[in-house]
């Protein structure tokens, strides 16, 4: 599969009063064309910061992107998103890459009608007239399953239910048929039943529009039926990347293994208590000069405290960031 986005060694820091927050420490991953990548990790692990860094959406100060590249491949050229000028970046945002935020209530402008918030993207990127944008907006709203779109167009976000609001958000992100859709925990704020609908909707759009999709979640449970590939993040670093089945059947990082144990599933013995990983994520204020998981790791040994583990491709497409070989019960 051809790659759409290649992120290498992305390093983002926040310069705060208490010190430097090392939010991302060399994040490397890629997304293929038409592929669905799930990004998983506890909250605070840097999932959102990674995506926002790529799109240049972080507030600066306090954020700085200190290293890395993020190549976006269009027809036959590749551009590094991190080196784009503001104007060039504005042509990528919304046009090439759409972003779905977690909480649609706060992510939609409360004093603008829903319709004009969708339309303005079309006017901006596709040179639509406002009239034409309006027609297209109604189509889009129908497409994402908002009944009575022609009337609801003129309503304000607070007049929508949570699920409907998230649909608006999705319509907005997908309005210009971007090539990549980034969904940052789009269902976290919603009821369980609505969650499934939203998930289905995004998957349908992905198929219909032939998009690539990055789906961010801290819940490994929903990933199985959704993603092609999974990226597990911990304390601002990917710890393991693998095709979804490989990851579930054969996790190679102690953290991934711990996460999977914490997922309730139907086929396991329900009497066995769910395990969770002991301890808390590290304080990102200290610079990462060793494996960040070492404090909580059941397999920790002296090497883990000396170095950052490198990316290790144990099988094609299966990358793990760990010194310890879980399969053989000894260091690599």
């Amino acid at each position: 599969m051809e790659n759409l986005l290649e992120v290498k060694n992305l390093t983002t820091r926040f310069h705060t009063f208490d010190g430097i927050v090392h939010a991302l420490n060399g994040v490397t991953f890629h997304v293929g064309k038409g592929e669905i990548l799930a990004v998983v990790g506890e909250s605070g692990s840097g999932k959102s910061v990674a995506m926002m860094s790529i799109l240049g959406l972080l507030p600066s100060p306090p954020a700085t992107i200190d290293a890395g590249s993020a190549k976006l491949f269009t027809k036959d050229t590749a551009v590094d998103l991190l080196t784009l000028s503001k104007a060039e970046m504005n042509r990528v945002r919304g046009r090439q890459i759409g972003f779905i935020f977690q909480d649609a209530l706060s992510a939609l402008n409360p004093v603008m009608t829903v319709g004009s918030q969708i339309s303005e993207t079309l006017v901006r990127h596709l040179d639509f007239s406002w009239g034409r944008a309006r027609t297209r907006t109604i189509e889009l709203m129908n497409q994402v399953g908002i009944p009575g779109a022609a009337q609801r167009l003129n309503q304000y976000p607070h007049q929508f239910s949570g699920g409907m609001r998230q649909r608006v958000m999705i319509a907005l992100a997908a309005a210009c048929r971007p090539r990549l859709l980034i969904a940052d925990e789009p269902t976290t704020a919603l009821d369980v039943t609505v969650q499934a609908q939203i998930l289905e909707l995004v998957l349908r759009l992905q198929r219909e529009m032939d998009l690539s999709l990055i789906w961010i979640t801290h819940d490994l449970g929903v990933v199985a039926g959704l993603a092609d590939r999974v990226l597990v993040m911990y304390a601002g670093r990917p710890v393991e990347t693998a095709p979804v089945d490989t990851l579930y059947d054969h996790p190679l990082h102690p953290y991934t293994r711990g996460l999977l144990r914490a997922v309730p599933s139907l086929d396991r013995d329900t009497k066995a208590p769910l395990e969770s990983i002991e301890g808390l994520p590290p304080d990102l204020l200290s610079p990462p000069c060793h494996c960040q998981f070492a404090w909580r790791c059941p397999c920790v040994f002296d090497r883990c405290w000396q170095d950052n583990p490198p990316y290790l491709e144990v099988a094609p497409g299966h990358i793990v960031t760990c010194f310890y070989d879980l399969d053989n019960g000894r260091p690599h």
Partner: protein, 315 residues
Amino acid sequence: MQRYFISRVIQSLLVLAGVLMMVFFMMHLTGDPAGLMASRNASPEEIARLRDQMGLNRPMTIQFFEFAIDVLSGDFGNSTRYHQPAMDLILERLPATVELASISLFISMIIGIPLGLLGGSNPNSMVDYLARGAGLFGQTVPNFWLALILILVFGLHLGWFPTFGRETWRFMGLTLPTRSVFLPACSLSLFTLGQLARFTRSAVMEVRSEDYILTARSKGLSVRRIYIQHILRNASIPLISIVGVQFGYLLSGSIYIETIFSWPGLGNLLADAIGNRDFALVQGIAFFSSFVVVILNLLTDMAYATADPRVRYGE
């Protein structure tokens, strides 16, 4: 929204009823309104006679209801000094105060709001320091002192502006302000200017950090559109209420500025009335100013409700 309006109107009426009571009982704070009203060297017999005359020996509740009925029919009693109905005196002074208040508000708005907007959009820039400085000085420089300094510099030293009284210019049947309003209006506008700059600035900064601005950026909108459509639009809604509140404050008349410049408005009348221990007039002014402020707050809230769709289409 209609429900909201109705409840706001009822609330305002309750406030006015409360004001009526306060104004009435304030006179009884010392226990002897007649003693307050009498001239300083009145003999006890004279005071007693006055007490009788004013009906102060009757039960308090009866006195209050009489007072309330009088006020509701627009009668604040007679000024003991001018021997005229207090209401007439107040209405006579009102135009001067309205002129001064409007011009002060205008000055504050054309300087304060842009300053706040620019400051809030460019944190820690030169304009931002200016906006913050305006806010700080507006709050700490007393306008009665500033007035004195302005008189010294622009009135006495440079001689550019009159420092005394109000002159108007009659043109096609309209009474228009002249240069005489400049110094009083400048002194009076300092506080409001600072408040507007401060408030606008923080409104802009708050809106800038909202999630929907991030969304707007993620859509690739131009900086201009984000600024006008998203930031300014949202930041201007809370501005409605601060402008309304400030106008109420200005309209209640500045006792300092009007006395310093001998500006024939409500504040000046109040200072006079206090100097003359003309408490019927003081009562009248206090109630009238409160009335103006309450009505203005009501109008402001209604404007706000109409401007903000979250209120307009009730939550």
